[in-house]
Symmetry: C2
Subunit: 349 residues, 2 copies
Amino acid sequence: MSNKRVTIYDLAREMGISVSYISKALNGHPAVSERVKNAVRKLAEERNYKHNSQAVNLRRGSARTIGVIVPQIDKSFFSEAIAGIEEVCSENGFSLIICQSHDSYEKECEAVSTLIHQNVDCVIISISAGTHSPDHLRNLQANGIEVIQFDRYIDELDSFKVISNDEEVSGDVVKDFIRKGYNRIAFIGGPEHLTIFRLRKKGYLKTLKEAGLPILKRFVFDDSLSKEQASAIAANLLTLENPPDAFFTVSDEQALGVLQAARALGVRVPEDLGIVGFANESFTGIVSPTLSSVDQKSKEMGKRAANLYFESMTVKQRGGPVSVKKDIIKAKIISRESSRRDADKPGSL
Amino acid sequence: MSNKRVTIYDLAREMGISVSYISKALNGHPAVSERVKNAVRKLAEERNYKHNSQAVNLRRGSARTIGVIVPQIDKSFFSEAIAGIEEVCSENGFSLIICQSHDSYEKECEAVSTLIHQNVDCVIISISAGTHSPDHLRNLQANGIEVIQFDRYIDELDSFKVISNDEEVSGDVVKDFIRKGYNRIAFIGGPEHLTIFRLRKKGYLKTLKEAGLPILKRFVFDDSLSKEQASAIAANLLTLENPPDAFFTVSDEQALGVLQAARALGVRVPEDLGIVGFANESFTGIVSPTLSSVDQKSKEMGKRAANLYFESMTVKQRGGPVSVKKDIIKAKIISRESSRRDADKPGSL
DNA sequence: ACCAATTTTTCAATCGATTGAAAAATTTTT
DNA sequence: AAAAATTTTTCAATCGATTGAAAAATTGGT
């Protein structure tokens, strides 16, 4: 046990040739004959040689690695996005380091620090709910690390951004509610310092206004991302004299909270109350009634984010100018039982 | 943009002192006066110096990192276990590299390769359903990397193991069913080359036998881990002339599959059919009816696994003998609606 | 067989940080 | 003030791999 690792020095000693020659042979350098290449590769295989990434990366000056920071990896939105990132990275021979911020600014900063230490080439991040300033991300850029934001982003930071058409699709959700006959639509949002939550609220408010519906302040809530908060808000509103007949929430956890409050109060969903959430988490399809949600095409967002890095690298290498751009991926409403009122039934259009 | 990183050479040049002295100052070496230490630290802070982990690790010969390989990070069992590992690692100043095998042997081998390259000190793994041989894990050991298995393990590999009392708790599930009046209990298992699935089946069979109940071969299925397979099996059995009145499954996905099949056929749960799954995934508490499940204390398993590494390190450093041991964490049945028949109601004991 | 051209192989520097030994500077002792 | 003891600082090797330049060996032409 605890054997030392085989290095190219070991191989060189055993074969009686120089270290640099071994290195060139293993890397397919043209100055090495096929005969030697094969012999070296064979021995490397036999001795179970594995290169030391630390050494390679140090020498190269790059770890060929992308760091990913997300609030939680066990939300399907994020794990799917990571899957997309992983796919593109492995196509390009890059590895991934995944960090969780658990929605805390401090943990996010720690992750940033780790990734700088690890000498990553790029950081793809969906910022935590606790993050108010992009200084730590500027720190990454100051260290020559490309920053790419997705979903939850800070607009003022000059970086690539891969986002949904939040305002537009939020408007669509409201329109859909109205079309189905819901017209007392409540909104449960997130912290307003995050652009996506501002935009979703904006889309909601704007569409209500355009539809000529009154905006009831007591039906609009910010900064209530947890299931429990949403549940409490719903329980409160549903016992009013004139309760809402629909809830639009900016996450699926909130939508679930609303559903549970409705269940507890005997309010029927979707007959008496429509619910639409955001992110199309996997549980939305298995609760009863199933929850309508906005699908943000998480995997595609991840792929797009990673591709932005590799594309910009290519352009930079050619000396071309890299214009900072915002990539918008169109989200799509997945209509399930929780918003399926009569008006939506086939033939009723 | 694309600035080069600050190194101790830059700091040394700026302060007009040697590189090694800078290094010693930053690391609190006793041979450096407080005056110099403070000055160096101040400048390092100002210039935003971050050490290069590649260089540090190369020199040290260890990355102070633990690699984790699990089938999927978006199952709460695994993400909770990872949270536990993370907690213990950060207490000990270690980092984490997380890899997913997606239940494929090839991907698991790739992950092993990556982790060897990254020079990790230890690998904590729950092996994939597609893994039949522990050769790749022996490869880790041959490279001086400690291997710790948890949950899904290969018994024949000489390594630490952190596992549940699978056979015992499976027996308890069956006993619980019987106590509640279920007596035609079907079983949907996993691939038998994984010890945990063998043990769960063994506990099921043994307990049926001890209870004097017949073992019906057509009620026992192996290697059917997916929700779809479980659903198909349930649909099949429930339309028999003498269908089962309970299902014990080795995962929660399977339990959900059974529930959906029962719903589709109009079979009432738990009145006509009891269901108990395994892992206490988060969705078991939000489906309707809620699903009973075996809680494996995933976070504790993760913490235990990581602690085993640090404990064995301490012992090894002292030159003490490290006996390979199996740590058993007692699982607990979480009784929810899907197995809540009359007999279980309060006062009916 | 000799010189040039080509192929094969080695040398030495490099990446960034650490560390024990050696050297230089300072303080204490006599 | 010289010698000894102590503190401060630098030197040089090291970790493992890569790479351009230089050297050595081989091949070809005449």
